[in-house]
Amino acid sequence: MNAIETEDLHIYYGKNHVIKGVNLEIPEKSVFAIMGPSGCGKSTLLRSLNRLLELNEDAKIKGDIRLFGKSVFDMDPIIVRREVGMVFQHPNPFPHMSIFDNIALGLKLNRLVKSKNELKKIVKWALEKSALWDEVKDKLHEPASALSGGEMQRLCIARAIALKPKVLLMDEPTANLDPVSARKIEELIFELKKDLTIVIVTHSPAQAARVSDYVAFLYLGKLIEVGKTEDIFENPKEELTEKYLTGRMG
């Protein structure tokens, strides 16, 4: 089954036509990479999938996006965002909250826990899942701002997966991290895809090749090519894709 499908998706910012008729099928429990040069619309496309784009009043969406067969536009955006978690380019845990409270926040907002014990359990589970538990178990109640960049990003992953989403969107999650922290995040992606579908945006073909099962190449708002990662990398059908992969563009 496909976790997400988009059908003839167009996105406009005012008069700017930024996504031009994109059709995607993202299979369940896979890692799907959207790659392309800066400004090609990949972050915009990603933000439309959990309806986060609608925070921007200038953005207009046409076409359909389906989450497990159901149009997200027929769903409450709050439910969509609960089922489709998101991790951003800049690690953004709330600096005025503790590590624990950052993870507990989404659970409390969505009233997903009934008792304090249950809350503690899920927080611990999410931190273990995101390979952060050992580092923070003794300072759960310290401010999240005391963590390093890589730790903050893993905290954001923990915060997202604590809601047990079916899909996790990642918007260049390693763009602002050092190589060691970036590798930890990539390792985490392998672990996480056992349970959920991951859509990752990256401008790095190398990262797409390392982490993804499927890859879509986006250029100036158009979907140029999409397919299994090894097929695209070994045998790109479009000239633009080949140019991009070999570093002659972007």
């Binding site: 709050i78 709330f94 005025h96 926040l105 907002l109």
Partner: protein, 304 residues
């Protein structure tokens, strides 16, 4: 480097001047109020008496009622201004149509800069009668068993009138600080909280938590403006030496006391020192409130 140092020697005196003036003022206040401390000790702050006499032997001053009134009205003002300014800030930034945003903000900034006597006259002739008729009388008639409402509002000049007027006056200040902080919350935190499935109300609550330091700063500024406000308050507080728990009772504030009494103070031997001592208490209250605020804010020193 040499040029830099010259610039430094040029600037240093100005810094010294500003700080020196502050110290000088404090010294003047201390020395000018010394005679009253020598005569009465701390009774100037702990008693509620105002005995002016041409015979210095019979003079006695105690400004407790004014201190009580200043704190009472300023706390009321903050309690009124805080919800107003937070709601205003959130509405203007999140909801107001784009064309209205700028005019709304400019309007409040102008409100902040209006001469306070304008509020005073409006307060005395419009606000006080309305409050008396539609708020104080009904509450007194039905709930006078509650101490807060126990005083029969005769004139309408009262702590409540002063508190409400001050609340309106300080709202533009508090709201400007809160609004600017709320507006400058990095977009990544807005996205972050909505991505967790927050409703607009929930997201606003989380984001207000993020700007708590600015809210505390807004409270401090509002309190400082309220406790120092003079003319408008003296028009609506009643100006009587009175200590009463009821919102509807008339009272005094330190600043209105000084403004009302200084004209004839020179006739009496100890009244000028008494007024300086009253001013000194404002100094001290301001200092305590600001220090408390700073201590609280230190807890929020996180990297942004």
């Amino acid at each position: 480097m040499v040029r830099m140092d010259k610039f430094k020697t040029f600037l240093a005196p100005f810094c010294g001047l500003v700080f020196g003036l502050f110290i000088l003022m404090l010294i003047v206040y201390l020395t000018a109020s010394l005679p009253i401390f020598e005569r009465e000790g701390l009774a100037i702050y702990t008693t509620n008496v105002w005995k002016a006499s041409e015979n210095p032997q019979k003079e006695f001053y105690g400004v407790l009622a004014a201190i009580y009134g200043s704190i009472y009205t300023s706390v009321l003002a903050v309690l009124i201004a805080l919800p107003l300014s937070i709601s205003f800030a959130v509405f203007v930034i999140d909801y107001a149509p784009k064309r209205l945003k700028e005019p709304l903000m400019v309007a409040t900034d102008i409100m902040a800069g209006l001469p306070t006597i304008i509020y005073g006259i409006w307060g005395a002739f419009v606000l006080v009668p309305i409050l008396k008729e539609y708020v104080m009388m009904p509450l007194y008639e039905h709930f006078s068993f509650i101490p807060l409402f126990s005083f029969r509002p005769v004139t309408g000049y009262s702590y409540l009138s002063a508190g409400v007027l001050l609340g309106i006056m300080v709202t533009p200040f508090a709201s400007a600080i809160i609004r600017e902080a709320y507006r400058s919350i990095p977009y990544i935190y807005r996205e972050g909280v909505y991505a967790l499935g927050a409703t607009r109300y929930e997201a606003t609550k989380v984001l207000l938590g993020y700007i708590k330091p600015a809210i505390v700063a807004g409270i401090l500024l509002a309190f400082g403006r309220a406790i120092g406000e003079t003319v408008a308050v003296s028009l609506v507080i009643g100006n009587v030496f009175n200590i009463n728990p009821s919102l509807f009772a008339p009272g005094y504030t330190i600043s209105s006391l000084i403004a009302n009494q200084f004209g004839n103070a020179y006739i009496y031997k100890y009244m000028v020192p008494a007024l300086f001592a009253a001013g000194l208490s404002l100094f001290i209250i301001g200092l305590i409130v600001n220090l408390a605020g700073l201590m609280y804010l230190r807890r929020f020193k996180y990297a942004r």
